[in-house]
Symmetry: D2
Subunit: 290 residues, 4 copies
């Protein structure tokens, strides 16, 4: 078990009156990720609505703000108890036997046009032995093919663009891996989080995006951009792709500042500090139900 505390500060300057905001910055509560404590501060004080999506368990915060400055400060301490399996014991599941809630993650989405990649994916990965190892191979293929490069992509960049351009940021790696997985009938979804242990050389800490593939009876973590320690991820939102998981969506004329994000590992209740580390097993933080 690792105990992680993260904080996010978001700042806006609003020009219009009555602008709506949607935020997805809360830690998700799953069987493996327990929220020890959390706090949200909104300045100026405003009524807000927090909804937990029953399927994804993403938490969606909505509020309406008037002209002027707006600041949000969210802080959470979470205990992440990873489920770890021996990779060779994690099988693929036939489409026929997948939980129905998993089916939407087989079809193409805005940034993951898996329908266009069936031939390529079949050629590259179709003959591989089915199971966790096949998803891992796709993850490594994406990691090796694509070069991490800040500002090499935009909000419109999709998996097809990344396949052609061979450059991107974590979100782009995730979209390409998801599209390739779906193209070989592996359900895959997009996860946003904060990652402990990011390389400070990459600049100020930013949101991270990674992938979960449904295998056996669980969603397993993959980090195709390969910059991080999967054990150090705190999960926020989950969805088909980035379109479902924007940390902030604004409706109106609004200026925004770069988010300020911190994360650290804390001792648990018994005073023991476990630092996230790379592990060889198949990591999961969400079971079938989600």
């Amino acid at each position: 078990m690792v105990r992680l505390e993260y904080s996010i500060e978001l700042a806006y300057q609003i020009a219009d009156s009555r602008c709506d905001f949607i935020f997805m910055i809360h830690a998700a509560q799953t069987a493996q990720q327990r929220i020890v404590s959390e706090s949200l501060e909104i300045l100026p004080a405003l009524e807000s609505d927090l909804h937990t999506d029953p399927a994804s368990r993403s938490r969606i915060l909505r509020l309406t703000a008037n002209a002027g400055p707006l600041t949000l400060r969210y802080r959470a301490t979470v205990d992440v108890q990873h489920h770890v399996d021996p990779p060779e014991q994690v099988p693929e599941i036939a489409v026929r036997a997948l939980p129905a809630a998993v089916l939407p993650f087989l079809v193409p989405s805005r940034y993951c046009q898996s329908d266009r990649l069936q031939r390529l994916a079949l050629k590259e990965f179709g003959a591989l032995r089915q199971g966790y190892g096949r998803a891992q191979t796709i993850c490594e293929w994406v990691n090796q093919r694509v070069t991490f490069q800040s500002n090499s992509s935009t909000a419109e960049t999709s998996a097809l663009d990344t396949l052609i351009d061979e450059a991107g940021v974590c979100r782009d790696f995730a979209h390409l891996m998801i599209a390739l997985c779906r193209a070989v009938n592996l359900p895959a979804r997009f996860v946003t989080g904060i990652d402990y242990g990011a390389d400070p050389a990459l600049g100020p800490l930013d949101f991270h995006a990674y992938v979960e593939v449904f295998l056996g009876r669980r969603w397993y973590l993959f980090d195709p951009s390969g910059n991080a320690i999967p054990m150090g991820f705190v999960r926020m939102a989950t969805g088909r792709d980035a379109a479902d998981c924007a940390f902030a969506t604004m409706f109106g004329s609004i200026d925004s500042w770069q988010p300020v994000i911190h994360i650290e590992a804390l001792p648990d209740d018994s005073g023991r500090l476990t630092l996230p580390s790379h592990v060889a097993g198949a990591l999961s933080t969400d079971a079938e139900a989600g």
Copy 2:
């Protein structure tokens, strides 16, 4: 109330053993669409699994078939009791106040890249009075701009393609209308169905695709391809776009034949026959919960 009976016959020749199929051909059961009776015949006889998605109430049939021929015959009699509102009394709802279940229909999807169309949509429709009439204007704009033309699009054609090419079939009209609605923050979704009263000059009866926009507290029907009588639609699947609603998805080496579809209006239990007709009001067959 209209009582409609439709039948669908699907025929396949399967080359591989153990091919999975997903079908979405069952009539949806909603507050306004009641299933009077239905039957499903699978030849050869096969075990199958029928699941109702709790959010969309689409019914998803899955089965695994072996090499050889496969035929499905589905037949349903449904009573559709449309909810009709005076258009001028159907308001738009601020993002802040939308039911949470509606939020996924605000974001871009595979075939409805609303993120790319915000400037265009704002220029064309941003200044219009909010409400049902604005959605109706978008519907008419799409109908006038796009020409109905069989075989002018493919399974990969998206709303952006249709905006450029200005030609398509019902699915393409629907995708463009959905993308434009979302671009002005109107939640919109894709619906597949069978429509009573299709022009026989357009060839054998095919599946229909149309649009629902969330306004007030309900999803309202729009038919941007304008070929049909909305009162004559029987609803099957609902989703973000065509990716969620394929009538058949096949996994394996399979030949398929053109579906054979019939629909007719029947007298109700009291012996009264009501034919679908064009009505001036705002039609809805699904309330907020969906």
Copy 3:
């Protein structure tokens, strides 16, 4: 006749040895644009090759530079004697009768996918009376539909993107107008130049891009971004689209600075100063031969 003097300073820092450069910054010499004087300074002094393309009369400067700094300073004084016709007397020419050298400007190119825009262009412009006025209508349509916005596009942005995004810079306006013209069989080409009289509020003077359409027996100027006085354009390169006309193409690992550009109007040999002004007529600076 207007006499204009412009200067361009380009500065690079080269990391590799033996990097090739292609520049297209020289004033074109046409029947209507006479070069009074020009000078080119290369620091450090380097051998270079200057070639005039016989078809476009674009001048192409090539050189190979070694690691270290590289600076180019080009300066030209040109007399532009516009050919002006009454717009209503400038006809369209049937494909059959077009000079053969003009035919390449009828087909789609990298950034001007006219093949995709035939239906749209026919619907919008197909019924208009043929002639200069039709090209002018396309120019105005683009100008009204697209919003000028710095940094709203990239080097990969094409006419289709601009049609969807409805924003761009002069190059994007030009590509969309060219694509629409070709879609109704009007030969159209891309021109780069320096424009006298640019609004200083738009920032430091930059290269300009505009359009020429072949009508009657000449290429006529159109400025779809509408920021400039066509009489004040000095023509540099001409081609199918921006791919043919890059002011600098670099082969190697090279850092570059923002070009420094100046232009001013000078008195002619008789001491008379004519400032470029907006004129009502159809302006041309290149005849059939080009």
Copy 4:
């Protein structure tokens, strides 16, 4: 030397009066391809204009036809005397030293978006030894990656689509190879022709498309779709990509039939019959001037 005779029959039914046509079906006359005899029959008899493009030596036939049927029958006997070099002696040429007429074949075009493929091409082919062998490696890479499949692409399919879809016809293979060559600064162009020895299993004889890369002082032939014997190609049109080389472009409401094409090898003047065969050398049929 091989002597080949080919014939093309094109048939149309024209609805409008005064429809313009552009045809590019004539054999090109180059230093290596000599026209022994040719004939053109147009029914009904019509005035036509035949123009040889000075740069590409493509021959462009234009005519205007009235409503009713139109048939063209073209027949040519050509002697092709291939220039053959030892592949290892054919070098690449620095951009600085390329003939100016070759430069347009370095930039991206409608179907060959080489600008998008620079990173991929550099990674795959950047470290290879320069020369004919590098172009050959690109040819083989395309041949192995893409699957030949009739009707898998449309007139809008570009090199980027083919890279993603991994299927296409000869034109698509050619576009992808051209885009990759240009991305590593190898000038490459698109050639249409008739190929002797096509596999009859692929259906009725159709036009062929292949690639020429400028190396040393000549354009060398490559056939990335790999279905044919390069010695058996008769060259018709040459251009940046398919947009420049359409065998027929029609302006108006016209129905067309599938072209009927024949080709055979003939004995030369001395009565000796040489059948095209696969040769190990680097084949060229066009020198620097073109």
